[in-house]
């Protein structure tokens, strides 16, 4: 399964990543949810752990739609992680 991930605002700045393409073995990552993806990424380092599963509120989007942690991911999806929005 291939997905594209975007990071915005404080996440982008702290993780020093604005986007990445991620390939995950289909058998191991069947039924991948947003929460499971966060947990997978959090294993990279303490900073990733803090930013994705720490006390900072993180919102997720799949293909430009806001989703909950329980949302399921499909091959080719565009995923994004960011803090609560502050526009307007």
């Amino acid at each position: 399964m291939k997905i594209k991930i975007f990071y915005f605002a404080r996440l982008k700045e702290t993780l020093k990543f604005s986007t990445e393409d991620l390939e995950l073995p289909d058998d191991e990552y069947a039924g991948l949810t947003v929460l499971k993806l966060k947990a997978h990424l959090a294993k990279r380092s303490d900073v990733w752990q803090q930013m994705l599963l720490g006390k900072l509120k993180v919102r997720g989007a799949i293909n430009h739609e806001l989703v909950d942690d329980s949302a399921a991911l499909s091959d080719g999806d565009e995923v994004a992680f960011f803090p609560p929005v502050t526009g307007g």
Partner: protein, 156 residues
């Protein structure tokens, strides 16, 4: 319905004028302009930078506008939101709504702003002056914005 995300400033008066002239049966024009304040949480603000998520931003604003159009009897909506770096008193956003009568336009305009504030992927970072010190910080989301949005979820 027009949605524009841009770095350059806009002429709110001209935009409102073009919108209200679009239909001869327009009776009411309600508009909101958000601008950069020179103070936030007690600190002097000298610069504000707005980042967004291209692609999702337009879809989120489109969805918010569609909801407003299905809930109220309005003729048209214009949203302009700037991104990039701005100074105090600079315009950030314009939301203008036209309708036959004022009640619908007032509700739709406030609804759009309340949803934009909580669902459209924009993030603000500000440069503050604290005495001699210059500091950069991300603006925190406000609980009052979530509460403002919640009001519209009630049966109507």
């Amino acid at each position: 319905m027009t949605i524009r995300i841009q770095t350059q400033d806009f002429d709110a008066g001209l935009e409102i004028k073009q919108l209200r002239h679009a239909r001869k049966d327009t009776g009411a024009v309600v508009s909101f302009i958000g601008q950069v304040r020179d103070i936030n949480e007690g600190d002097t603000v000298s610069l504000l930078t707005l980042e967004h998520y291209p692609g999702m931003t337009e879809k989120a604003l489109q969805s918010i506008t569609d909801q407003a159009k299905s809930r109220w009897d309005i003729f048209d909506v214009l949203i302009i939101h700037r991104v990039g770096t701005m100074q105090p008193s600079d315009q950030i956003v314009l939301v203008a709504v036209i309708s036959a009568h004022r009640g619908e336009a007032f509700k739709a305009c406030e609804f759009i702003m309340d949803y934009l504030k909580t669902e459209a992927p924009f993030w603000k970072k500000e440069v503050t002056q604290q005495g001699d010190k210059t500091a950069e910080r991300w603006v925190e989301a406000k609980i009052t914005d979530d509460e403002a949005r919640q009001r519209w979820a009630k049966p109507y």
